[in-house]
Structure formats: C-alpha cells, structure tokens
C-alpha cells in the first residue's frame, strides 16, 4: 500500500480511487452443468470519488460485476483496473458491504468494526479511536460493547458500514446494503451513507433494486439489462447535494426516475398495468 495514513480523519481530503472496466465478460458453469453468460462486454469508467449506482433486474449480473471488481472471482475476458492497478486476486484497498450485514456474532460491536484493522495489521490505537468516532457518527456510541444479537437490523447494517469505512477504503462496494431494511430505516440509512461519503469521498459502487434510492444517492446511475448483463443506459444525476427528503419532489429527480423506469418497461421487467 502506498497510502500510509494512520491518524483519524482530521479534515484531510481523501479522494477515492478510479475504476476502469474494459471489455469484461463473465461466463460460468451453473450447478446443473449449463453455461451461464452473466456479463457481456462491460465497459465502464468511474472517476475517483464518484458515487455510481447500478440498477437492473434480478439476475442481470450486477452482483457478479461487483465480485469481479473486488478481485474475489476472476473475469472470463477483459480487464479491470482499480486505482490504476490491474485487478488480479483480492485487492487491499476495497471494502465490501453485503445485503446481509455478516457481523460476527461472537464479537462485540467495536470488535466487529475493528476486524479489518486486525486482519490488515493496521495501527490498533489510532484505528480504535477512528472506529469509536465512526460508531458515534451513526449514533451507536452506547452500543460499542454489545453483541450483534442485541441490535436491530438497521443498527447492525450501520455497524457493517462502519466496519467497511474504518479501513479508509479507496473504493466502497455495496451490494444492496439496505435491501433487507424497512422503508423508513432505509431512508435514514441513505442519509447516513450520503453524509459519510460527502465527508470521505471514497469511490462508491452501489447496487440496488430501488430506482429512487439510486437516483437519490448517485452521481451516475448505470442501468443494466439481463442475461447476458449489458449496460443499457447511464443516467447522469447532478441534483444539488446534500440531498434529502426535499430532493424527491424535485422535477429533475422525478425525470431521472421516470427515464430509468422506462428502461425497465422496455426490458419487460415492469409493465404499465
């Protein structure tokens, strides 16, 4: 790692890393032995510090794309570069948040947040402070010593986000992180996420099923079609930040949502009646 920051965020501006995806295809054998063509010729460039969402029907390969970028599974063809370095195997500068919070039940909230610090052997003292700060920023300072079993779903997912952010990732990959939460908690989480992103400016790749959520949070929304997954459209979303409840009534917000919805109608994922 070139970057040796150890201190907690003291107003230092941290740009996220850029991503370049060129001609990426993914085929794999399904359990029944058939070949699945998950992704076809994906080209996408994401700037450092950009917030990009991917929306698409189930099975369009958006989660696969995320796994390819993380380096946990290899692409069939094409190249992926993160921060100018070609991805071969798991990369250190990325943090993942899944739909399930995957907190470790046997660790306290604080110990869960510190898991990447232990595994990456980062400085324990300064990162402990940073972890406590992160937990405070999402209103969980009183829960540091609790076990995940004592927390609600929304609280657990906030801990999972703190765990991702404690390692100062240049790239944050989020795979439907709020998909399992109720609508109200989900809105709350969107605002938490925006606030943290505005502060840290990591590059964020955010997968969601919710068109509104994508438009609310992103600089650009990538619309994917399914089987094989292809990019159908990219919607640039320059609504003023910080965004919030008021954004939803902005005519441009409604326009973006409608444009994406029309793609889903054209793809046959949604129908008019």
């Amino acid at each position: 790692m070139i970057d040796n920051r150890t201190g907690p965020a003291a107003g230092d501006f941290r740009a996220g890393v850029p991503i370049r995806i060129a001609g990426v295809t993914k085929r794999y054998l399904s359990a029944r032995g058939g070949e699945v063509h998950a992704l076809d010729e994906i080209d996408l460039a994401i700037a450092g510090g950009e917030f990009v969402s991917i929306v698409g029907p189930s099975g369009c390969g958006k989660s696969t794309l995320l796994m390819l970028i993380s380096g946990l599974i290899p692409a069939t063809t094409g190249t992926i570069e993160v921060g100018g370095v070609r991805v071969k195997g798991a990369i250190g500068n990325v943090a993942i948040v899944f739909q399930r919070d995957v907190l470790l039940d046997w660790r306290t909230v604080l110990a869960n947040v510190l898991l990447p610090v232990e595994i990456k052997k980062l400085d324990p003292v300064s990162h402990r402070r940073k972890a406590q700060e992160l937990l405070r920023s999402v209103g969980l300072e009183e829960f540091e010593d609790k076990y995940p079993g004592e927390l609600s779903g929304g609280m657990r997912q906030r801990v999972a986000i703190c765990r991702a952010l404690v390692q100062d990732p240049g790239l944050l990959l989020m795979d439907e992180p709020f998909g399992a939460l109720d609508a109200l908690t989900r809105e709350q989480m969107n605002l938490y996420l925006q606030r943290m992103w505005l502060r840290d400016r990591n590059t964020v790749l955010f997968i969601t099923h919710s068109i509104e959520e994508a438009v609310l949070l992103s600089d650009r929304v990538v619309v994917m079609s399914s089987r094989p997954g292809r990019i159908a459209d990219i919607v640039t979303d320059d609504l003023p930040r910080p965004r919030g409840a008021h954004t939803r009534s902005d005519p441009r917000f409604i326009e973006h949502v409608e444009r994406i919805r029309r793609h889903f109608l054209a793809l046959g994922v949604l129908s008019e009646t």
Binding site: A90, R100, W106, K120, K146, G149
Partner: protein, 270 residues
C-alpha cells in the same frame, strides 16, 4: 406464599428466584419419591425387588467408600475416552472441511460407520485389549466420537459465503479465515457435539464394564445383581446419574465461558 410457585418479579434475591423457577420440578420429584416410599412400605415390597428411597439413601451413606472408589474408575474411563474423542475428532473435522479426499472418502466412511452399534463391538475389544481399563476407554471413545466429529464438520461449514468473501477481501489468509471465522462460527455446534458426546461416553464406559471388568460402577452393578443386593444396584445407578449430570454440566459451563455472546437476547427492537 401460595403453593404454586409463580415467578414473581417482586421477589428479590437469587435464592427466591431459584426457588420460583425450579420449585415446580422439585415439588414433582418430592411427590414421586414420597409416593414411592409410601407404596413400598404399604405394599411391603421386599428390598431385593424394589428398595424404598430411604433404603437407597442409607445404602449410599453406608457404602460411600465402595461407591466412590468404583466411581473414580468409571470417571477415569469416561474422561480418557471422551478426551481421546475430542483430540481426534476436531482435527479430523478440520481435515474434512479443508481436504477434498477427506470430504469425499473419509467423511462418508465415518458416517456409515456411525450406524454400527458401538456397544456391539465391546466383546471384540475385550478380546483384543483384555480386561483392563483400555476396552472401556475404547467403547467410550467410539461412542462419543461421532457426534463430536459430525457436529464439528457441520459447524465449520456453517460460515456464510459472504463472511468468507468479507475477510478474503481484506486479504486474510486461509489460516486467518479459519481462526477468525470458521472456528468461532463452529463453536456452538462443536459444543453441541461435546454435550451429546459426554453423555455417550458415560454410557460407553458403563457398558464396557458390563462386558468384562474387575472395577467400576458397571461392574459394581453386575456384582450387586448376582448377589440380589438391589439397594446397592440402585445406589450405583444414582451415583452414575450424578456422574453424568456433573460431567454434562462441566461441558455446559465451559460453553458458557467460551461463548459469552450466545447468552445475549436475540430479538431486541430498535
């Protein structure tokens, strides 16, 4: 106080709480023993058929030294057999989880072996290992081994795919993944296996002593049976039961120490 013990939040103190929680069970036990005592006396059942609880208690008090000596022998067999199970089963479970050959060949083989009634092997073990402590240790080992190995394998496989991805994305090695994820994730299941295993080891050691022994509680039972000393037979059963409960609780206690997180509430609203 009413006669029906209802857990009342108003009663302070640990003792009061304990009584309110365990009171009904204790009452039922007391009732059963009282009926037993009365029935034996009223119907004048001879001791060699069914001794009354008071006779059994007296027998335990009188022959405590004999019972203790033999209990110690049986305890030794149980602990050696169970210890051997743990020492072999857990590394074997790790091998099954990490090695294709073990997974495809050794594990199905072990699962099919599990269907053999281990107790039926005891006479063979006596021929091979003689009359000493070894055949009992082996029966205790064989009978407690399978629940431990199978539960350990299930536990180590129970880590979600995302959990493994998560630590791999942080650059964790296979060893780190095992120590930080698979093993702690498996602990509740492993302890489940250990709790079944310790009970089975008690059965194994006792049955081993039934087949051929010169000492131990199982042996004491055989001798008492031949002599029609039914009170001593019952006394041995009581001591054996106490031994089983004690050992089970020792494992349960270790579990509580090892898994403090499993005691927390699982459904808390925000």
């Amino acid at each position: 106080m009413t006669t029906i013990a209802v857990p009342s939040p108003a009663t302070p103190g640990k003792l009061a709480f304990w009584i309110s929680r365990n009171g009904p069970v204790l009452a039922i036990f007391a009732l059963v023993f009282a009926l037993w005592e009365i029935a034996v006396r009223a119907l004048q059942i001879p001791d060699y058929i069914l001794p009354s609880p008071s006779v059994i208690v007296v027998k335990i008090v009188v022959s405590w030294q004999l019972l203790l000596e033999n209990a110690f022998v049986t305890l030794q067999e149980i602990l050696l057999g169970f210890g051997l199970s743990v020492v072999i089963a857990i590394p074997l479970a790790i091998a099954v989880v990490y090695s294709r050959i073990f997974e495809r060949v050794a594990f199905p083989f072990m699962v099919s072996l599990q269907t053999i009634p281990k107790v039926a092997l005891a006479p063979i073990l006596v021929i091979w290992l003689g009359y000493g402590i070894m055949p009992k240790v082996m029966v205790a080992f064989l009978i407690s081994f399978f629940p431990i190995v199978i539960n350990s394998v299930i536990g180590m496989r129970s880590a979600e795919k995302e959990m493994i991805y998560l630590v791999q994305s942080m650059g964790a090695s296979e060893l780190t993944t095992f120590l930080k994820i698979r093993l702690p994730k498996a602990l509740p299941s492993i302890f489940g296996g250990l709790k079944v295993g310790i009970g089975q080891a008690v059965v194994g050691a006792t049955v081993g002593e039934f087949i051929a022994a010169e000492r131990g509680l199982g042996y004491l039972q055989l001798i008492s049976q031949v002599r029609l000393d039914t009170p001593l037979l019952f006394a041995a059963v009581v001591v054996l039961s106490l031994l089983g409960v004690l050992l089970f609780n020792a494992v349960a206690f270790a579990e509580r120490i090892a898994l403090p997180w499993s005691r927390v509430a699982t459904d808390v609203a925000e």
